[in-house]
């Protein structure tokens, strides 16, 4: 039996390969994601191993504030005291800041987007486990306020030489620093900053620049004497620490930092896994389809096995065995492709500044296990239905001329499919609109169930469309059209299953298109309604910038007011939330804040404005005090107003944020002009004033709206990536189905050729059939995507997605794309059909 199964496999290599391709893709995404995540993990952990001491002492709250820079410090006295703790060899205070970027000779920020820019003092402390940390290896250590040392990779990229004056953009008090480069730093024992830039100053200078001149430190490293473990030393250190400070082992601190960074890029992992999921779900459709067709084609052969005495189980087993081999091959190829994918992602990351080339790819045991497991399970599960059906072929079928595969009735499919769709839609609705835990899972499972249900019901539901298509073809393409139309009606299950493969991709694409265009429209509306300022200054990288920029802006002629905005991630009643800080003085110049309660006059000091939505959700009222967790500790802010804008759920004053311990860094400046001042003149003046700070961007209202839409444009880019994937898989599915149909219909094609169908007509016939399948899939997908998209945007109405906008032109393009898919997918099968030798085709059994 297995010999026979094996032979049958070898005889159908190409067909099986095509059906496995989706599995290959899916497994590649799974494998690539795992490899890359592991590599990233290892690499990040490696960097942070170099950047922690044996024990790290820091102010409590400094690590709570997420990535918002704080002004919390450790006094120098305490650092001196730490050096005398039993087991400590030495203790060194570190000054560190983020948002310090090196500007290269080409006036561009080194590292561009994403990679952190770090400024530190030259403490000379050894890193954990006696590893030598980043040190000056060329030139000398910086001394005084006009000298700096920079890490070797950054110096190379910025194209600076020792002795040159370099430009640094700081988020501290002074925006532009121009010290002389006196030293180049590197890891003496090897190591990589993965693209981060590090600038080193002497301790006094660093304190002046980043800590407001206090003799204090951001944190301190305590180095263990030989034989003292990190944990032992930590316990000793903890004993002497006053309230407000904490000690952690270096290993733990490194882990924390690494996982924070990993979390920051987790969107990528999710994105890749979504790809993997789509590829696998669609792949399983293709496998069901392929195996159904192979079993149908071999039904007489399988019946013969049964007639010769094979049991049902043996027949099922032989089909499943084929699936096993196919799954194994597909997964292995996929895993190999996954390695390439991981390398590709690594290369892509290097391009945007996160250079991981120092880290070799990491293969955890879970990578091959997960990849093979996923590929095998999906393939076998998908092949199970056709395999089980194959066992129901009666032995007598071997002797009959016309073997019909036992099929479940279309009515039953319609019933089951409809129920599944309803259940899926119901689950989705619960997840979107009801208050249940794990809403994402409800929505995801509901969507999947609805799609499977649609696919199951589609042989019945697609009939009207296929009849319509057949009618249209008859009308416009004559007898070739009739034949094509009838062919696609001939096996509704097969046609619908093939179309379903395309449906899934297009459902997602349509849903996301609707979400994207609705979000864009909502952003535009919010800005149009609430934004009164004329010019916005912000940081291209999205990090804070120096308050000096605002001072600079205020001095420009034509500027009436400059309103500073800052933002901080804080905890409120245990939940993380976003707190915006603004300068109350000229706030109404630049923002329309219509208060439904309270008064803007009270908005000063420790007060907060909340949005109407938050207020009604949380039951806030005027005069109530909210306790936020700030770096300096819990802070009470009194609610003085409720506004009805769609942004700034919590809006407080700059004073409150500063007192709370957040570093004084502005995130954006809104500028109102004097009456009569020309926006373009002022903008030009502002641009000139900030020309030496390339991370600062000056935008007018239109440009600002465009900038706010930029994240949505990235979403749209993802949509097109998804579309591409969906198209590739769909093409494979259609190629596969058509290819198999043509093999089945060899004699019929021979006959048609004998009675005068020429090759062009034959190709057209196959193409028309293919287009019908593709358009069916597109219509199902777009239809379902419309439902999902409208539901999704409706559920996000409370989150500020006020407008639901359906991008009809894009949907039209998707439909046209499906016609193109049909044509492309038909190329190979059509050629094959046209090339069949008439005589041999007629003679085929």
């Amino acid at each position: 039996m297995f010999r026979a199964a094996w032979k049958s496999l070898l005889g159908r290599k190409l067909r099986l390969f095509m059906s496995t391709f989706a599995i290959v893709l899916g497994v590649a995404f799974v494998g690539g994601t795992l490899i890359f995540t592991d590599t990233l993990n290892k690499s990040f952990t490696a960097i942070f191993d170099n950047s922690v001491g044996d024990v790290v002492v820091r102010p409590v709250g400094a690590s709570d504030a997420e990535s918002t820079p704080t002004s919390l410090t450790i006094p120098a006295r305490l650092v001196d005291a730490l050096a005398t703790v039993p087991g400590a060899a030495r203790a060194d205070g570190n000054v560190s800041t983020s948002g310090l970027f090196v500007i290269g000779e080409n006036n561009r920020v080194v590292g561009g987007q994403g990679a952190p820019g770090i400024g530190v003092n030259d403490s000379g402390a050894p890193a954990a486990h006696g590893v030598e940390g980043l040190q000056v290896v060329k030139g000398r250590a910086p001394v005084g306020k006009d000298e700096v040392a920079i890490d070797a990779a950054t110096v190379r990229r910025a194209n600076y030489d020792l002795g040159e004056s370099v430009r640094l953009v700081s988020a501290g008090k002074k925006a532009l620093l121009q010290p002389r480069l006196v030293g180049i730093a590197d890891f003496p024992e090897g190591g990589s900053l993965n693209g981060a830039t590090v600038s080193i100053f002497d301790t006094r200078t660093a304190q002046n620049l980043f800590l407001g001149g206090r003799n204090a430190f951001s944190d301190a490293w305590v180095t263990a004497r030989p034989g003292v473990s990190q944990q032992e030393l930590r316990d000793q250190v903890a004993k002497v620490l006053p309230q407000g400070y904490e000690a952690v082992t270096g290993d733990k601190a490194a882990d924390e930092s690494a996982s924070q960074l990993l979390e920051a890029i987790s969107f990528l992992t999710i994105f890749l896994l979504v790809f993997a999921g789509i590829a696998l779900v669609v792949g399983s459709f293709l496998i069901v389809n392929t195996f159904s067709m192979l079993v149908a084609q071999r039904s007489r052969e399988l019946a013969l096995f049964r007639a010769l005495g094979a049991s049902r189980r043996q027949v099922t087993g032989s089909v499943l065995f084929e699936a096993f081999v196919v799954g194994l091959v597909g997964s292995s190829v996929g895993l190999g492709l996954g390695v390439l994918l991981a390398m590709g992602i690594r290369y892509g990351f290097a391009r945007i500044g996160l250079d991981l080339s120092g880290q070799r790819l990491v293969f955890g045991l879970r990578t091959p296990l997960a990849a093979l497991g996923v590929g095998l399970v999906v393939t076998m599960v998908a092949a199970y239905l056709p395999a089980r059906r194959s066992s129901r072929i009666p032995p007598v079928a071997a002797l009959r001329d016309d073997v019909a595969m036992p099929e479940s009735s279309l009515r039953r499919r319609l019933l089951i499919g409809s129920l599944m769709t309803l259940a899926g839609v119901g689950a989705g609705a619960v997840g979107l609109f009801a208050d249940v835990p794990k809403q994402g899972y409800w929505v995801g499972a509901g969507a999947l169930l609805a799609m499977l249900g649609m696919a199951a019901a589609s042989p019945a539901t697609s009939r009207p469309f296929m009849s319509l298509a057949a009618g249209t073809y008859r009308r416009f393409f004559g007898s070739v059209g009739v034949l094509a139309g009838q062919n696609s009606l001939r096996n509704p299950r097969r046609t619908a299953a093939t179309a379903s493969a395309l449906m899934i991709g297009l459902t997602l694409v349509t849903t996301m298109s609707i979400a994207g265009s609705s979000a864009k429209a909502s952003v535009d509306r919010t800005i149009e309604r609430a934004f009164l300022g004329d010019i916005v200054i912000s940081n291209a990288i999205g990090e804070g910038f120096s308050p000096q920029v605002a001072t600079l802006a205020e001095r420009q002629p034509g500027v009436r007011s400059v309103t500073r905005f800052r933002s901080a991630r804080v905890k409120l009643k245990g939940d993380r939330t976003f707190l915006t800080g603004a300068d109350p003085r000229a706030l109404t110049d630049v923002l329309r804040l219509d208060l439904t309660a309270g008064s803007l006059r009270d908005f000063r000091g420790d007060t907060v404005l909340v949005s109407k939505k938050v207020a009604s959700n949380q039951g806030y009222r005027i005069g109530q005090e909210l306790t936020f967790r700030f770096p300096e500790g819990p802070t009470k802010l009194r609610i003085v107003g409720i506004h009805d804008a769609e942004f700034a759920s919590y809006l407080t004053t700059l004073d409150a944020l500063r007192r709370g311990g957040f570093a004084p860094q502005d995130s954006s400046l809104l500028i109102k002009l004097d009456p009569g001042a020309r926006a373009s003149d002022v903008k030009a003046a502002l641009e000139k004033a900030t020309a030496k700070l390339p991370i600062i961007t000056v935008k007018d209202q239109t440009e600002y709206a465009a900038e706010q839409r930029a994240p949505i444009d990235r979403l749209i880019f993802i949509i097109y990536a998804l579309l591409g994937l969906a198209l590739v898989i769909a093409v494979l599915g259609v190629v596969n189905t058509l290819g198999l149909s043509i093999i089945e219909r060899t004699r019929e094609i021979g006959l048609l050729r004998a009675i005068g169908v020429d090759r062009r007509q034959m190709r057209r016939m196959v193409s028309l059939e293919s287009v019908a399948i593709a358009v069916l899939g597109a219509l199902m997908g777009i239809g379902m995507g419309l439902v999902f998209g409208i539901a999704l945007t409706a559920s996000l109405r409370d989150e500020g997605l006020e407008v639901t906008r359906i991008p009809w032109p894009s949907l039209g393009i998707y439909l046209l794309a499906s016609v193109a898919i049909g044509l492309v997918a038909a190329l190979f099968p059509a050629r094959r059909a046209a090339r069949l030798e008439v005589l041999r085709a007629i003679g085929t059994e």
Binding site: D402, G478, S479, V480, V482, L483, Q486, N487, L489, R490, R747, E748, L751, L752, R753, A754, I755, G756, V757, D758, R759, Q761, V838, L839, I842
Partner: protein
Amino acid sequence: MTTVENAPAPGPQAPVVAASVVGLTKVYGTGAAEVRALDGVTLDIAAGHFTAVMGPSGSGKSTLMHCCAALDTPTSGTVMVGDTEIGGLDDKRLTRLRRERIGFVFQSFNLIPTLTAQENILLPMSIAGRRPDRDWYDTVIDAVNLRDRLDHRPNQLSGGQQQRVAVARALASRPAIVFADEPTGNLDSRSGAEVLSLLQRSATEFGQTIVMVTHDPVAAGYTDRVVFLADGRLAGELTDPTREAVLERMTAHEARTATGRVES
């Protein structure tokens, strides 16, 4: 039913040749595996006649038909269909020739399963973009006696009915020649007789040229002329054959083959 005015006008000099082959040779394979399916066959097919090609399996009768019907290309020799030499034609011209000048009836799987009987009958003309001649179509439908079955699909028809649909399809476009390859091979004797007499009437009443490949003496008995093939060569012929005469010739031929090689 009018018949005579629908028949192809007979030329002034009879008999007109509908197709002819000269020195037709077809070789499959090379070297030790070489098979000479046809070995220098020269033959005229008279217009308006029902001709049978007979011979045992492997005698080359099917290859002869395939070459005449522009389905296969000869190794050497010439094939004329009407006044067209098909040797130098490319696939496009061969297809057009089949579409316009040739009709087919095969042993089995003759019809497109997705189309109704009527659509099957009109298919070749519809593919060629020609309008069917209404009168001729009615004549053919009445001749095959399928008027009440026209909207049925092939799987709703009996084997004999299916084959009659196939004959109607072959006749409908009024081709120069209809080739029938064992048209009764899959039918019971009664259905077979129906199909054969239909073919016979097509020749006598409509003047349709028909070439039928068969190994059934009964079938051959319906024809005007039987051509015998053996080992790829002509092995004699009979005019106005009867079943008995054909049987006798076949038996004699087999006896001769048993005693040694035969010359044509």
